[in-house]
């Protein structure tokens, strides 16, 4: 067993050197050999018989000049020391990499969290911090007791002559070998789980109720979606025109303006010509005779430039695309002239296929929205009741505490054999009564609420 003892003391020394070199700071930067002499000092203080073999040969070689160099006798020790260094470097390297990975994952998670924002529990935050901190320190001091060690090291490096300190360090180092195994496989899955469950179990706050109310008010108003847009050239013309304008903008706005403009007019001009061929000069004359020149120009036909200026505005509507528009205007005109009944056309509008589809969708929407609103209202009711219940429970909690206080007083009084004053007794009784009152109130509230709240969101 003596061999074993030797080993562990060796280990302690080795470890001390390693961590010592990572922690000692300012002296090292300015003067490299200072650190080594420090190490030698603290080693010689330990005075374990076997230590001479582990004396940092490395440092003594550093202080030799080139002629002295390295001898064969240095080799074994130097090898071990270099291996030690290599091992520690590789360990450090891995820790640093782990640290980087950690950092980025923490950062990612932080981003996510801050977006999802509200409803994060304290617990979760704590977990994150805990995860963040120890590894951080690990990477630097390569030990799970970083702060403690750091302090210890600071002391020894300043006065390395003090023997007890050195021993203390070796003790800490010794205990260190067990602790990382216990600490490292940290499993935060349960914490994550509870953090995810937490929002479902917390008390219902006034904010939550407010949110529900807002939701109800916004959802019950769906009139916007019930409007049926009037017939017209929504897509056939406006969109193509917009597209063309966009393209025009996208292309060089100064140079190509004319060209694209002409393209556009070419595109629409075709229709124009066609229109002329369909509605011959006679028709045109008839139409212009029927409609006055200054008649209302349909909203969606603002692109005047596309047509020849000499054309009277009405004639622009004599294209195929404009037939509906023309129809509308003719109808309007005829109604004004008293030739047609105003409602005649509206009926014909309604057997439109698209219109029925729109109506169907609207019906569905209304049904869905109604359902949602009722569910939300139910949820709101439940939430309100639950918040009442919670308020009661809180009151009961305080009442409980009061009762317990009085009970303690009573016990104390009994122990001292001093009878309670009447006032105190009355107080105690009133507390008890109050508590019973609260409990009754709680019982009065409907009981199935709890289950309903639990399943409310899922049934929705």
């Amino acid at each position: 067993m003596s061999g074993k003892g030797k080993q562990s003391s060796k280990k302690a020394v080795v470890k001390m050197r390693e961590s010592g070199k990572t922690v000692q700071s300012s002296a090292l930067n300015s003067d490299a050999s200072a650190e080594n002499t420090d190490a030698t000092k603290s080693l010689s203080i330990l005075k374990v018989a076997d230590n001479s073999r582990l004396l940092p040969r490395y440092s003594s070689i550093l202080q030799r000049n080139v002629e002295e160099g390295i001898g064969m006798e240095d080799l074994d020790t130097l090898q071990l020391e270099l291996e030690m260094l290599l091992s520690s470097v590789v360990v450090r390297h891995r820790m640093l990499q782990e640290e980087i990975a950690n950092l980025s994952s923490v950062e990612e998670r932080r981003d996510k969290r801050s977006k999802s924002g509200k409803g994060l529990s304290l617990l979760d935050k704590k977990v994150r911090e805990e995860k963040f901190k120890p590894k951080e320190l690990n990477a630097k001091t390569q030990s799970p007791l970083p702060l403690k060690l750091f302090k210890q090291k600071a002391i020894t490096s300043s006065n390395s002559q003090v023997i007890p300190n050195v021993h203390e360090i070796s003790r800490i180092e010794g205990s260190k070998s067990e602790s990382p195994k216990l600490l490292l496989p940290k499993n935060d899955t349960p914490n994550k789980f509870w953090a995810s469950v937490d929002p479902y179990c917390t008390d219902i706050m006034s904010d939550d109720i407010k949110l529900l109310e807002e939701l109800i008010s916004t959802h019950s108003d769906i009139n916007d979606f019930k409007k049926v847009p009037p017939l017209g050239r929504h897509y056939s013309l406006i969109w193509t025109h917009n597209d063309l304008l966009q393209e025009e903008d996208a292309a060089n706005p100064n140079r190509d303006k004319k060209k694209s403009r002409s393209d556009m007019s070419l595109l629409v001009g075709k229709n124009d010509k066609k229109a002329h061929s369909i509605a011959g000069p006679l028709t045109q004359r008839l139409v212009s005779a029927l409609l006055e020149e200054n008649v209302y120009v349909a909203n969606n036909n603002t692109d005047n430039k596309l047509f020849r200026d000499s054309d009277p505005p009405v004639l622009r509507d004599l294209t195929i695309q404009n037939s509906i528009n023309l129809e509308l205007r003719m109808h309007k005109e005829l109604v004004e002239q008293g030739i047609l009944e105003p409602d005649a056309q509206k009926k014909s509008q309604e057997d439109d296929e698209i219109l029925t589809e729109i109506k169907r969708c609207q019906q569905e929407l209304t049904a869905l929205s109604n359902h949602n609103v009722t569910q939300l209202k139910r949820l709101l009711n439940l939430a309100q009741e639950e918040s009442k219940r919670q308020a009661l429970k809180r009151k009961i909690g305080t009442a409980d505490n009061e009762v317990i206080e009085h009970y303690k007083k009573l016990i104390l009084a009994k122990q001292r054999k001093i009878p309670l004053t009447k006032k105190e007794q009355e107080k105690a009784w009133s507390c008890l009564r109050e508590r019973e009152n609260f409990l009754d109130q709680l019982n009065m509230l409907p009981h199935n609420n709890v289950e309903l709240i639990g399943f409310g969101p899922t049934t929705n």
Binding site: Q7, K21, T22, A32, I61, L80, L85, L86, L103, A139
Partner: protein, 291 residues
Amino acid sequence: MPFTADAAATQIQERLKNLYHLVHEIETHRVRSEHNLNNIMKSYEKVTPEDKVSPYYQQKLKNLNAAIGDSQQEEEILRKALGKINEIRAIRNERRIQARNAGNKETIRRGALMKMVLSTAQTLPLYVGKTPGAKPPPLCGAIPAEPTYIAKMGDMVAALVKGSEEEDWILAEVVQFNPTTNKYEVDDIDEEQKDRHILSRRRVVPLPLMRANPETDPHALFPKGSIVMALYPQTTCFYKAVVNQSPTTATEEYEVLFEDANYASGYSPPLNVAQRYVISIKESKKNKSQC
């Protein structure tokens, strides 16, 4: 290529000089890494975790990357220095084998022999994996040799030889391997025996050529509870044993319990055996627990 004593000496001198410079280089690298590590620590101390994380994060990442670069350089140069030491050892070993073949056999007393057995185990090169997942090479720690592996001349092996009444696994050195008969010629390491054995391949187990580093490559070690063959301290024989504790540092040894009928429990008290002398057990019908 045969060395004269002089040639070997000059070669070794050259490498020693090389090594000297490398050691100095290592030091400069260490100072630099030190600096960066300190920076990391300082920046950590300055910032409390929750506020202003992003700039802190940037800074930290930068520092970490710098530190990683440092450690890579440092690692490289350390490996180089250790490589030099290995070269020196190889040259010396070569010289030794040549001297032995030439017939001037140095006789070693038993105490000195035991010391040599220990020190060669301690100075066996250390394998340090470059990445956490790196697969250690064969004959590193507990990793056995490949089935086709032939131990080289001068390599240490465990050899199953017939003793006076029973078979023993002894510590031996390979003299040569005869590929036609598929047999090894091995020398008992214990000079007093003065025996040369000719053994078939399955009676010879090469010893590890590298130590595994518990801090970086624990998977290349026998875990606690493994049944192994280990060199009984102060002897040159291997016996069946149970690993009681694996080493936790590169310099530490295995702690094993030898199967030993002399003790009431059937096992010896825990004894330390170097990594080099702990090997996986061969089919064990003939292992006996007597020395």
